[in-house]
Amino acid sequence: MKIKKLLIANRGEIALRIVRACKEMGIHSIVTYSVEDRNTLPVMLADEAVCIGKGSPQDSYLNSAQIISAATLLNVDAIHPGYGFLSENAAFARICEDYKIKFIGPRADVLEKIKDKAHVRSIAKKLGVPILPGNVTPLKSVAEARKTAKEIGYPIMLKAAQGGGGRGIRIINQEDELIEQFPLAQQEAKVSFGSDNLYIEKYLENPRHVEVQVLADEYGNVVHLGVRECSIQRRHQKILEEAPTMALSKEKIEKLEEDAVRLAKGINYTNAGTFEFLVDKDNYYFMEVNARIQVEHPVTEQTTGIDLIKEQINVASGKKLSYKQKDIVQKGWAMEFRINAEDPENNFRPSAGRAELVIFPGGRGVRVDSHIYSGQEISHIYDSLLGKLIVFGKSREECIKIGKRAMDEIFIKGVKTNISLHKKILNDKDFQKGNISTNFLKRFTE
């Protein structure tokens, strides 16, 4: 099916990113927006825009009825959900399927299966993909939990099988804590995620976060587009991502990439997806699948030369992958800095207001993906991402140099931003040497 008309069920920079891809592909783009987002660039630049509700996400970007209503009335061929919001919502994907609208992402049944992390973990184990020590079937009792924990040794993570994005995880240091927390965790999981299934994973003290970008067509062909490292996080929120990674040797990276492809095939994955791993010294462990395009996809684009959004649309329109694995080479280095409207002096509290003057950096090795412009009102309703600064060059060293000079050039007046944090990171000796972990940011933010 050729996609001629595409509805974008998202906002902000990713909506703009998809509008751009559509324009370059000659696809008619329609952006859905909330009243709050009326004067934003994606709304202005899309071929069409439909207001679907009030500012609050529940009323608009999460309101599947309104989105489907707009999609059917406008006869769109496909819906791109971006990231967040409805992007990994199996029920929404199923409604799209019912209405014969192509959901740009994996099939609904695949999304449902992926949602159960313990299940994917068990498939990984079956396929020989390394997973963190722990159990793969839902824990039946606190006794079973105690047994597993004892085997792998404390500290451990007690996780809700249906949790995600850092939610539904408890770190437990000793047995009496486990006994106390187990019923609470069950209860919370039931309330928050609709299932009290729990499982245990070994807790790594100082891991690195490495992920593999995968692309799969609807005919079983799967390729990977190399790795990204996203260890620089604040409370499970990625702040700075890079591609490829210094976390593992070239040989280990190749094994990791192959494992990701194997796992993607094993769960019948289609479209673009990310397979996340934790790395501890020279070992990697599969963690979870992110069944959507990710915020950090540009670092992969800059190191492979492949436009991921266009490939998503191509695959969704039923085309076979246009790349064979051997044609994909990750070259050079890229880094992405998330520019957030946050106040670094106030515990990174979101900062709203009017961005009176916005000057973005330019020049060689700089890419800016942002939906904001001088004079725009920044709402407190949505996430604080103002845009992404992506730098790229021959080496990680060159990225750091370009990153530093670009940070000097960014100027955003009217809202507080985390630019000062990025400058601190770029000037940090450990960061420069690549000595990072998911705890790295604590030195600046806690």
């Binding site: 009243v35 009326r38 004067n39 660039l41 709304v43 202005m44 630049l45 825009a49 439909v50 207001c51 679907i52 509700g53 009030k54 608009s60 009825a65 309104q66 489907i68 209503s69 707009a70 059917t72 009335l73 406008l74 009017r354 009176e356 003057l357 412009y373 001088s374 004079g375 725009q376």
Partner: protein, 154 residues
Amino acid sequence: MSKEKQAAKKSITEEIERIIEIAKKNNLEEFSLKTERLEISFKSRGCKEIAVQASQDLSNKKKEDTTPSTHFIVRSPLVGVFYRSPSPGAPPFVEIGDIVEPNQTLCIVEAMKVMNEVSAGKGGRILKIFPENGEMVEFDEPLFELELLKEDED
């Protein structure tokens, strides 16, 4: 406060508003005026206006005019298809010039096979009907313009 004073006071702010409106309509950047009763001067063009202009220049979306304060707009509560009558062939719920009750149905917006009746919420006289029958409407899109009818008008 006496009725007379109220009228006088109202007329000053109204006068200011009208003066600014005239200046804006004529794209004046700076303006000053001196009469017996008042002396006024102002400069125009901040960046917000420019930013909003950007949105108008960059996009081809339909824009609404401003409405006088004695009028009000009934907007679509959802994305759907606008129907002026309960069923094909049936007479429209309302016509221009009709005086409607707050809870009277003005139209139907159909979304996903569900018929949503829309009323004004306030009593008024229908002045304009914006969409065509059968047209798609988006959330918040103006459907009707009404003249407010005050019960205790004097």
